[in-house]
Symmetry: C2
DNA sequence: CTGTTAGCGCCTTCAA
DNA sequence: TTGAAGGCGCTAACAG
């Protein structure tokens, strides 16, 4: 068992000063003049004894804990969304804060409880995150507290909100194809499928499609078609399979994410279509998967790390930051796009 | 700004009792008899005022914070290792604890500092994790503290250690092939390549190869060959490519992980070899990738979530748990294995 | 059955 | 330039 920790009082005694003096010296404050000699004695005593401040006590006294919380529905589940945590942890560290991480599995009760508990622990601020950009209702407790909403579309909450710029993602996807000359035979795969939770279609998908259509319109053209499917490889495969089976030879595919693109690759390759010579493919996520596919996949970066970072930064440097902060999504070009043949 | 929090003293006053009584009632202790009437009054006052205990103050007083820490070198970076965090967070929650997450980028100084700071915050215990199973030197501070080592091979630290059972993974891989009749033409891909950090080969790889060889020997056979490569798709592709180019038609491949297997698929398919009819493939990771490949890949589960969970459990329920805890790695059979043709 | 008293370890006003 | 005293909010001995 750890031997009893050294306290400030002990350091003070060892140095032959009062704890007040020791406190001033060790917290490096200069507004109160302490004689150089006393300073030295305190420092030496502290080192000799291996003093470490009790941060719990300090937090109780000052009401500032140098702690942030990150609560999300199912954060790490989606593989790379763990990047959000990394971004948040890193940014917290640069501000000398530690990060509490909590997960609620989407259970609203648990969520309220968790947020509550974090504030019971006197966190200096809280990031409330959901897995994908979507409407959601944060616990009321957040309302008048230092907090940031991540990927959470919530009207009536006057807080900073961090969102990926999905419309830009759509524009970047389309632009990558337009710029090499594609105009016809461009299909969207997994565009914005409807789910029980999102009867109008996934918000991210809708926003991206708007971006795609905007850019294609600027170039005097439009999508040849859009196939709905969930955002998994098997579904992407099936969607492209059905397209091919109906006799279509698409010139370019705009895939909802890298996993859908993987399915698309499988279907195209099954029919001997070459990427990018016969069919160009672009996608969104810029996950590792994009680099693993052959040929490597051009994909719009989904900046999880950056979003985690920014959220915490907004906590640490509040300023006047309420409102939506859109994190850029830029195309990372690889080898899956070429000019249309012929 | 949050209005001033309600304190226990205020609840006590509102209920017309002393704060001691209020404290006993609200922490649900029964060893001291409080009249039902007083209990009711305290509860009502607490509800009416919206009382929430200040956990910082409680922690200072009791020296128990209901907090654990998880510090690792580069935790979330590897995609699915974020699962470790999830497992740890979940298990902490079941023990009414919150989890601090910290990351050190492998910097030893930062590491010492982080561990120190977590104990300054009075965490009840600490998981020290590294990305892959490997020898490492935890900060001395951990020595006489409640801590668990995760994937960290450290002699001289008398602490519970959690490790994946890589030898079992090797046995499971080989067994899946043996059981359907493979004896010849079995190659290991990315077996245990040497790196700067591991001149003798990656520890996990070595352990697995031992398992593979053990089982194959039991069946009176051995590997036809082992190709070294780093554990990425491009390298797996290149390794299998070179095998095929040298005229070999392997009957089965034991891949170091799902990414290597993905590269293997690409090479095999390029040559028109069918999986599993011509060549069976097994692997380790059981990542999502295994389900995305066509045909779906049989892969030994790498239980990140479970390891995170177990580590925290060992913190929460210490018992006499020092020594190594091996977490089972079991084959998850899918569609990439078949009996050898002919 | 309940209240008084005394800290946990630290910071900070005030007086010397 | 320094020290004494008080209190952050809570719990735990010990009386009554």
């Amino acid at each position: 068992m750890a031997q009893r920790r050294v306290t400030l009082a002990q350091v003070a005694e060892e140095a032959g000063v009062s704890s007040t003096t020791a406190s001033f010296v060790l917290s490096g404050r200069t507004d109160m003049r302490i004689s150089p000699d006393a300073q030295r004695r305190v420092r030496e005593a502290s080192d000799r004894l291996g003093y470490r401040p009790n941060l719990t006590a300090r937090g109780l006294r000052t009401k500032v804990t140098h702690t942030f919380g990150l609560v999300s529905d199912i954060i790490a589940s989606s593989g790379y969304a763990g990047e959000i945590i990394r971004g948040a942890v890193d940014e917290a560290a640069t501000h000398q804060h530690m990060l509490f991480v909590g997960e609620t599995q989407g259970d609203a009760d648990l969520e309220r409880q968790l947020v509550q508990e974090l504030f019971d622990r006197q966190v200096d601020g809280l990031v409330y995150a959901v897995l994908g950009p979507r409407p959601c209702v944060p616990p009321e407790t957040l309302r008048h507290r230092p907090a940031v909403l991540l990927q959470c579309i919530a009207d009536g909450f006057d807080l900073p909100k961090v969102m990926p710029d999905d419309a830009q993602a759509g524009r970047e996807s389309a632009r990558a194809l337009m710029v090499v000359g594609h105009r016809e035979g461009v299909y969207a795969i997994g565009a914005h499928h409807r789910t029980e939770a999102h009867p109008a279609g996934i918000p991210a998908g809708l926003a991206r499609m708007n971006g795609v259509e905007e850019v294609m319109a600027e170039h005097g053209t439009r999508l040849a078609g859009a196939l709905q499917c969930t955002w998994e490889p098997a579904e992407g495969f099936a969607a492209v399979r059905s397209l091919l089976d109906s006799g279509v030879r698409p010139r370019a595919l705009i895939c909802a994410n890298d996993r859908v693109a993987m399915g698309a690759y499988q279907a195209l390759q099954e029919d001997g279509l070459r990427i990018p010579e016969d069919t160009s493919v672009v996608s969104v996520d810029n996950s590792d998967l994009a680099t693993w596919l052959r040929p490597a996949l051009s994909s719009v970066d989904l900046p999880y790390y950056e979003m985690g970072r920014l959220s915490v930064r907004l906590l640490a440097e509040p300023g006047d930051a309420n409102g939506v902060h859109r994190v850029p999504m830029r195309m990372v070009a690889r080898d899956s796009v070429a000019a249309p043949a012929g």
